[in-house]
């Protein structure tokens, strides 16, 4: 690795640690004093700590999912949220919660959680493949974005009609979940969330070469000996698992997936995807850690929804890129 890149990585790691510290110490309404940092402190142990871990995992999974999607579609404006993949996951979770037994699904039962995760993954897979099918017919980045928007609108509409006919109990649990939050994961959730996320990330390590080759497009990737369809299938699977598992536990989180890989390419001027893989992981975590801290400090006494902050960061970046029309 180039020395300048090494320095950049060290800075990112430092920011990451600062983010962890801020989120742990200031990511809430109460002040935590140093001497209360023992395992007996409920706020620290059951509220702050799971939330910080969730911020890290959610940030990195969504960012890496975005990175994969941008390469698969060879479109720097792709991402799980803007392409409607998060909405697909949400819809499936909504179906699960609203059509199924909500008590069973939302409580701490392992089977219920697993079912929730699996439905979210299925939802994101379905939408990704639909988008893929459509993307063959269009060759404009912006049009693809619009199609993704339509997909998320469709999913949203189905969801709204489901909510309309559902009983208040299911509605409440779903509405709260649908707002997107890092604070709802408990320790036992993390026991599912973290291994699934880590496992998919590890799996992705074996796809670094295809990821690099896919940048060249289907024909050239095949030409240098990379089986395009097979690799693309596995990469979509991984990105869907990453998006799905995070959506299952945190609800749809906006714009992190699209913004982070772009930022990563702005910071590291390399096309080596292993660099962007690691930097997207760290950057995604940093952004959510800081967003989480911001949530609790912008308005005193009120914690803002996490999506408000991430949208404020991500949306202007996307608009900027559309104007610049630069190939990040």
């Amino acid at each position: 690795m180039k020395q300048s890149n090494l320095i950049r990585f060290l800075i990112l790691i430092a920011l990451f640690l600062i983010g962890c510290f801020l989120s742990l110490m200031y990511g809430g309404s109460e002040t935590i004093s140093w001497h209360s940092l023992n395992s007996g402190n409920f706020i620290f142990r059951e509220i702050r700590f799971p939330k910080t871990i969730t911020a890290i995992v959610a940030g990195s999974t969504l960012s890496v999912a975005g990175l994969i999607l941008q390469i698969i579609f060879r479109n720097p404006l792709a991402g799980p949220y803007v392409l409607g993949i998060s909405s697909g996951a949400s819809l499936m979770v909504a179906l699960g919660i609203l059509a199924g037994n909500s008590v069973f699904l939302v409580s701490d039962l392992f089977i219920g959680k697993t079912f929730l995760v699996l439905s979210a993954i299925t939802g994101s897979l379905l939408v990704t493949f639909l988008i893929l099918l459509v993307s063959k017919k269009v060759n404009s980045n912006i049009v693809l974005l619009l199609i993704g928007l339509m997909f998320s609108q469709i999913c949203g509409a189905i969801q709204t009609s489901l909510e309309y006919f559902s009983d208040p109990t299911s509605l409440k649990s779903f509405v709260v979940w649908g707002m997107g939050s890092l604070a709802n994961t408990t320790g036992s959730d993390l026991l599912i969330y973290v291994p699934v996320a880590l496992g998919s990330m590890l799996a992705l390590v074996f796809f670094m070469k295809p990821l690099n080759a896919l940048l060249l497009g289907q024909a050239y990737a095949q030409g240098v000996g990379i089986n395009f369809n097979t690799n693309r299938f596995y990469l979509i699977l991984i990105s869907s698992v990453l998006t799905g598992v995070t959506t299952a536990f945190c609800g749809p989180i906006a714009f992190v997936g699209i913004a982070v890989p772009i930022l990563s390419r702005m910071i590291f001027s390399t096309s080596h995807q292993q660099v962007h893989f690691f930097s997207s992981m760290i950057l995604g975590a940093i952004i959510l850690l800081f967003s989480d801290t911001l949530c609790h400090s912008v308005v005193v006494g009120v914690s803002l929804p996490i999506n408000m902050i991430t949208t404020f960061i991500g949306a202007p970046l996307v608009i900027y890129l559309m104007f610049k029309n630069k190939h990040w």
């Binding site: 309404s29 109460e30 409920f42 706020i43 059951e46 509220i47 008590v103 208040p168 409440k172 408990t186």
Partner: protein
């Protein structure tokens, strides 16, 4: 704008309150069978068994089957109670620090003269009670749910003796997962699942048990009951039953209270013909403007117009509102006579404790001839000018 949004939120939550009900009692295992005669006359969703110093309080919070969802042992001295009452929440009473996460619950304690024990509320914007507001201004009151999500960290730091919150009627499911982890005692009130106004009013006995104010609660409720029944007698004797409808559109949907709802019941008791009385729903009916117009265009009265302050304002939202006969004849009554600076009416706060006031208001509105007999000023309602 923000306030309006919040109020709409609370209005929607209010809609959720009106949920379905099937009064066939069954009891979950793990608790002692509560003695049926516990001095509770109307309410079906809780019971209290008093044995000496100890009060056992049961919540039948399951919306559909009335299952016991929580049981509390309340006592001055809690030593040694754990062994005998394994599945019960053991609470030392009178509770010193109470978190009342709904303006109704805060009002309950004010009514009982125990406002000093209220240490936290949900959001000051929904409070009309002077004592509570003053306490908040002195900085002695925490707001735990300024947003739709409970601020768990503040709640844990405050460490209240009991948290009163409302549930959707799903039992344990209603308690926030993390709140449950914190071990703070929670009472998920399901007063809104009661079908009759008197049953809801009787819930004051439930809250009183936690502050050891049985006597006061009994006397307050007795007063309410007497007054209610007195007016009920007058209003049921009336011969004309003016037709009435309620609410306004929310977005595109007109959420009309169901025929078995609390509102429908109190309208019937006030001697009115509620146009959706035949309906069998306990919750709200999502209707379109057309559906409401077809049925209610000739209705005599129009009541409960959320957040509307004047006829002019009403018409500014939707000019077609002017087509209703009730609008033209000026028979519009809103429950906003006393509202706080944020536009939140005390109707939502004390109306549940004092249904006799609502009944008195409505009976006099629908039957002006009863004015002399009831002889009370309108308390919550006023004509919309």
């Amino acid at each position: 704008m923000l306030v309006k949004g919040l109020l709409y939120c609370s209005f929607l939550t209010g809609l959720l309150f009106l949920s379905c009900n099937n009064p066939k009692a069954s009891r979950s295992p793990g608790f002692e069978q509560p003695v049926e005669d516990s001095g509770i006359k109307y309410a079906k969703r809780f019971s209290i068994v008093n044995t000496g110093e100890i009060a056992l309080v049961y919540l039948f919070g399951h919306r559909k089957n009335h299952d016991t969802t929580a049981a509390y042992v309340l006592s001055k001295d809690t030593v040694g109670l754990r062994q005998r009452y394994k599945n019960y929440e053991i609470i030392k009473r009178p509770c010193q620090k109470i978190a009342a996460l709904s303006s109704i619950y805060a009002a309950m304690f004010c009514e009982l003269g125990e406002s000093e024990r209220v240490a936290a509320i949900d959001n000051i914007d929904y409070i009309n009670n002077e004592e509570i507001i003053r306490k908040f201004e002195r900085g002695q009151l925490k707001e735990l749910a300024k947003t739709p999500v409970l601020d768990l960290e503040q709640a844990v730091t405050l460490g209240p003796d009991i948290i009163f919150t409302f549930g959707m009627g799903d039992g344990l499911q209603d308690v926030d997962r993390k709140l449950k982890l914190s071990g703070l005692p929670v009472a998920v009130s399901v007063d809104h699942l009661e079908e009759s106004p008197l049953a809801r009013a009787e819930w004051i006995k439930f809250f009183a048990a936690f502050v050891d104010r049985k006597k006061e609660a009994d006397s307050i409720f007795k007063q309410v009951e007497e007054n209610y029944l007195k007016i009920l007698k007058l209003s049921t004797a009336t011969r004309t039953k003016p037709s009435v409808f309620s609410e306004t559109k929310f977005g595109d949907v007109w959420y009309m209270p169901g025929g078995k709802s609390y509102v429908a019941r109190i309208l019937r008791d006030a001697g009115a013909h509620y146009l959706w009385a035949d309906n069998n729903d306990v919750g709200s009916l999502p209707l379109s403007f057309e559906q409401v117009y077809a049925k209610a265009k000739e209705a005599d009265y129009w009541i409960n117009l959320p957040l509307v302050k004047s006829k002019k304002e009403l018409i500014s939202y939707e000019t077609r509102y002017g087509e209703f006969k009730a609008y033209k004849s000026g028979m519009l009554f809103n429950n906003t006579k006393h509202s706080n600076s944020k536009g939140y009416s005390i109707y939502w706060e004390t109306g549940m404790i004092h249904p006799e006031r609502i009944l008195s208001d409505l009976s006099q509105i629908f039957h002006p001839e009863l004015k002399s007999q009831i002889n009370k000023d309108l308390y919550y309602y006023q004509p919309l000018k």
